[in-house]
Amino acid sequence: MKLQPKEVELLLEDGDRIAIQKALKDFSPSVPLRLHFLRTATIEGSAPFLQLAFARRGRSLEAEWGELGNLTPPEKSETSPIDALVIYWRPQDLFPSHFIRHGQKPELKQSQDLQPILDHFNHLLNQWTEWKDAPIYIVDTALPHLKQAGSWSSALNSPSVLIQRLNLQLNEVIASHSNLHLIPQQAWEMTVGAKQLEDLRLDLYGKIPFSPNQFGSWSSMVSDAMISLTTARRKVLAVDADNTLWGGVLGEDGWAGLTCGQAYPGNVFLRIQERLLSLKDSGLLLVLLSKNDEPSVREAFENMPELRLSLNDFIEVHCNYDEKHLNLKLVAKSLNLGTESFAFFDDSDFERQQMSSFLPEVLVINENPEAISMLESLEHPELRPHDSLPSDTHLQYQQRQERLVAEESAPTKEAFLGSLEIHYRVQPLNEGLVPRAHQLCQKTNQFNLTTRRHGEAQLRSWMKDPNAIVLLLEAGDRFGDQGWVALAIATKEKSQWTLDSFLMSCRVLGRGLEDALMAHLSNTLTTKGASSLNGTFIPTKKNSPCAKFLPDFGFEPTESNEERDNFRLHLSSSPLTCPSHLKLIKPT
């Protein structure tokens, strides 16, 4: 019997080890997730809880536990690479004398007394930032639960000041290193509460950092913090209007009767709008699906200055009386996205149930119509951004819609492409481009010949390897810049070059940019003396848009099997030029 996600949540929240062990017997996903844990306290008792927390995301946890107290990252393993490193540290384990003896040394009252500790911590942080074999997830830290001597003192060298400074140092390093991520231990401890967490007996007996009754809740928080390893972020949130964006029903109350503003009860809807706006700024697309007529909805947005959102914040607006799942499918088609990329936010029980039964792949984020619980549901982990790279997704899709209009009005495809004034440049991978190259490898599904999810460490090693070429393409047109949108990787083995990866963001499909990138790669290879390039197409459920790319480009089929189609391009016999409607801009 397979457990429903909600049942798993409840089991984790309840934290009963025996119930968890029983549940795990019926719940074993096949895709492994290898995590290596470094720790200063005994958290391995949480293993079955972590297993269940990751199982609900379709991953089977294989945990490796380093030696207790050793925070040095492991040597790289060629045979069994890990998916991520998790670091659990507590300041009282790293700097015990400062915590235990604090208060007995009245002469130590200055903030500079903390400097040796901060320097030591900085040394640890450097060790972690230099390690690039896998993403690293690190907990921040909360005050020790018990009022240990001096913990709550206001002296500038007290443990509470120390903890704030350690967390600040940690956050600054995480913000500037794309490989490092935060596990919000402090926020979790505040949510659960010191009285629930504290168990000094078990801490003294076996360095158990908090009550085992909370292992389930902790594991749930940790797997949420690591969601980018296991689950794709939803791309679009379809939002209802009445009793969702504002209080009241437009069709009955008129716009003047709606509530949204600083005062109760409109303040909760204002909060909802603010949260939606920040999700939009982080790259989530918003769509409005409202059972109202469009002129009334426009009138409401125009006449209510207190609304935080404007209609322009929605990439598409569908106001009509059709069933919402039909409208959602129209939006999916128009944005060229699968319905599995959508989430749905609506106060109506009927609408949510109807959406779930017609399109079960759409994530319904709120469980009930209660406004506060709707606001809280916007913190759903599948809506969170996976990285801190700047996002202009909304603008990109807006420009895409404008291009579609231009395409419809152009007499021929060539005339349309010419009118776009497309420009591009190609550049070898450098350190500044590694995060974007990594993101492209992780996210690109449709135009991706081999779907190899290379990590940052692998990309960096190719950067310095004379037997590898990694090229990125940046493009723009008269509607705006599209940024770095395509990546090609070729590697050489025994004098033969092979196309390891070739991928392009689906939002620039159909402009000939893939031909330009392949032409540049071929020219680079020719200058290196290569005579041919092997290419492979590995079909997946999603990458059919590039199935014909290699033969269309002039690659000839070689031996193939069920899993892959192999090709070869003869470089000397194929002088390659870029499509004429593209304008090359030299790298700056």
Binding site: I18, G45, R201, Y205, N213
Partner: protein
């Protein structure tokens, strides 16, 4: 279920063995998973199930099922 049956079932579930294999003499030596980590899991589970609390110095004395039962009796659980 009587408290004794409850205790035996708890031990069996926690350490993944059959309840019929357990006796008062079952100990840390005879049960594979009953190591120091297992003791912590056991304490947490006993406290939850029987609404009792073990002292720090008692924890390491829980070496056999007989001792576990005895300390529960001392804490007012009626077997």
């Amino acid at each position: 279920m009587s408290p004794r049956e409850q205790l035996y079932q708890l031990m069996a579930d926690l350490f993944a063995i059959d309840a019929s294999e357990l006796s008062p003499a079952s100990s840390r030596e005879s049960i594979d998973r009953w190591d120091s980590m297992g003791t912590i899991d056991l304490v947490a589970q006993l406290e939850k199930t029987f609404s009792v609390r073990f002292d720090l110095l008692e924890v390491d004395q829980l070496l056999t099922l007989e001792i576990v039962e005895k300390s529960l009796v001392e804490k007012g659980v009626q077997f």
